[in-house]
């Protein structure tokens, strides 16, 4: 894209901006819609539009560096014999071996384990590296069932039944042939080099009543030992959460539209689903009405970047958060040291999202042996652990400022919104007022 022209008389269309024009031209030349990774890039109402009301006269703060502020979370207390206890409320979201290199999966496990949190498999099964390096591993149960087997199911610390993800609620997936290496093909029982299509619907159940029986089956197979999560993309969240609870979930995982993907149509990423900030209050309301808030835990994801996001998500009603894109960035994705190579791929550090091509210079979203070797799982895992510690400390800082001795004591009353949209979505007052749009007083 060329820089903005210097002639001040030239006027760019707000409707047909240069990015829009470029996409029309690309579509006209190729005849194919744009597929890419990452999550929604458009600006949507987000946690930046919320502020905490720190303590002063009417609230009593905790001493920032001396008084304890708990961060532990227990997941799966409803039915599982062995709930998961994590030391920080930040977990690692499901990302597949296939979409990611084995080194990246190992690094995610190492980083998560170092700080006492969980990581999650993805579409394609469980790798030995990932299981070996993850002290707490959540095994995803997806429509494709690629790599699904009862031995790995019994090795899992929790099972996550995936109905959808925030980047593409209602959509399946496609791992393009260039990433179907011999090992990936073997795990998924597919020929090498073909596009691997992931179905959007589970093959052996339809609807929440069937899902309840399916969950009972998974519990029977695992002798009711481990928690069972249900993951949904954020859309009709209030109803989806109620149905998930009815179906027997121990934990509901809610992924907003900012959540990442390995490969999806751009039009899908940008135009389906709702922001996570708008979804959390709906989920919390559903759980509260059913009398299971905090008994059925809520994990939220989609655009979590820092401790403020973590604290705000929890204040709105979540028990924990999950990170995907941020975790990959911590490993080394989009790092400026690869700038020259990003340029060769037609991108730039900070912009690279063609995860589907398998050419990731950082060795993360690739199956190329040479590129994958660039990622040192030990060093990358350390970076992830550092990052997880930082955002946990940040969340604690904000909670203490609000007078909370545990992150879970944060509540909507601690928040205000900077604009009307955020106030309406988050269901907190517009700053300086007691006005919550859409609610009666």
């Amino acid at each position: 894209m060329t820089d903005k022209p210097t002639n001040p008389a030239l006027r760019e269309s707000a409707t047909f901006g240069r990015d829009v024009i470029a996409e029309i031209q690309r579509a006209a030349e190729t005849g194919i819609y744009d597929i890419r990774g990452w999550g929604a890039k458009r600006k949507v109402p987000h946690f930046d539009d919320l502020l905490f009301l720190g303590a002063s006269m009417s609230r009593y703060p905790l001493e920032g560096y001396r008084e304890k502020c708990g961060t532990d979370v227990t997941l799966g207390t409803r039915y599982a014999k062995k709930p998961i206890v994590i030391d920080t409320p930040v977990t690692i979201a499901g990302m597949s071996f296939g979409a990611l290199s084995a080194q990246a999966k190992e690094a995610l496990g190492r980083g998560a384990s170092e700080v006492g949190t969980s990581t999650t498999t993805g579409d394609g099964g469980m790798t030995a590296e990932e299981r070996g390096q993850s002290s707490k591993l959540v095994y995803q149960y997806l429509p494709s069932r690629y790599g699904m087997n009862p031995d790995d199911l019994r090795k899992a610390d929790a099972i996550e039944v995936v109905l959808g993800q925030g980047a593409k609620p209602g959509g399946g997936g496609m791992l393009l042939g260039q990433k179907i290496s011999d090992r990936v093909a073997q795990m998924r029982n597919l020929p090498m080099g073909i596009d691997q299509r992931s179905a959007c619907r589970h093959p052996d159940w339809t609807g929440p009543d069937d899902l309840a029986i399916k969950i009972a089956e998974l519990r029977e197979i695992t002798d009711w030992q481990v928690p069972i999560y249900i993951k949904v993309g954020a859309t009709r969240t209030y109803y989806d959460v109620k149905l998930a609870v009815k179906a027997g979930a121990d934990v509901v995982v809610l992924d907003g539209m900012q959540g990442g993907t390995a490969a999806t149509q751009d039009v899908f990423i940008e135009h389906v689903g709702i922001p996570i900030m708008a979804a959390i209050p709906q989920a919390a309301q559903a759980l509260q009405e059913m009398g299971v808030h905090r008994e059925v835990q809520l994990i939220v994801s989609g655009g979590i970047r820092n401790g403020a996001d973590v604290a705000k998500a929890i204040a709105l009603g979540a028990d924990a958060v999950a990170i995907g894109t941020a975790a990959l960035i911590a490993l080394g994705d989009n790092h400026p040291r690869f700038e020259a190579e990003y340029q060769k791929l037609g991108s730039a550090a900070g912009y690279y999202d063609d995860f589907q091509e398998g050419k990731c210079p950082a060795g993360i979203s690739t199956q190329d042996p040479e590129l994958s070797m660039r990622l040192d799982p030990v060093a990358a895992g350390k970076r992830l652990a550092n990052y997880l510690r930082v955002i946990t400390l940040e969340a604690q800082t904000l909670a203490r400022a609000c007078g909370k001795s545990h992150l879970h004591n944060l509540e909507p009353e601690d928040l205000v919104a900077l604009n009307i949209e955020a106030a309406a979505m988050a269901r907190v007052p517009l700053a300086g007022t007691n006005w919550v749009p859409g609610q009666q007083f």
Partner: protein, 227 residues
Amino acid sequence: MKTYDLSNNSLRELNQALHDSVLLASEPEWRITNPNGAHNIACGLNDDVSVDIDGHAGYYCAGMNQKASITVHGNVGVGVAENMMSGLVHVKGDASQSAGATAQGGLLIVEGNASARCGISMKGVDIVVKGNIGPMSAFMGQSGCLVVCGDAGEALGDSLYEAHIYVKGEVTSLGADCVEKEMRQEHLDELSDLLKRADIDTDPSAFKRYGSARQLYNFKVDNASAY
């Protein structure tokens, strides 16, 4: 033989016992009476044992079976032998939808008919149905064999990968990228073996073979109308 009456005992206790390798070493043969259509009977087995279910079973009977031989003397609900890894599941009656879904190994025999989505996303299992099968069967079937001695419903083998399909009767319609293929000797041998294992005496040469045209293996915009 150990007999377990489901009308007087819980499913949980039954499945827990069937997961107990020490117990199963001394009690390798089980008979389950009065199943009354209960869901999730004998799922997650992982030992070389024999289980007979006297009556109808509900959803996910013998789900994720490994090694065990399970015979249902009745009909089964949705997802019988779903994701089976090995062993044998033999249904004497009819099977509801998604029989053998995503199963990776073993043999599933259905003496009666199987409903829609039989063998959906099959990943290595062999399925033999003596009667008819419903629509959308073997959808996205990756590997293994589906043998149908009767007729097949609409959209057979839609988006098929490398699963082999043999049908003796009529096929209402084929799904996207599924085509009739030449029946070579290797296929006759494969089919004969499966029919023999299912104890079916019929002429393999009376079957037709269907497989993937492999035109949808890599996304091409020219194929957009097929999706």
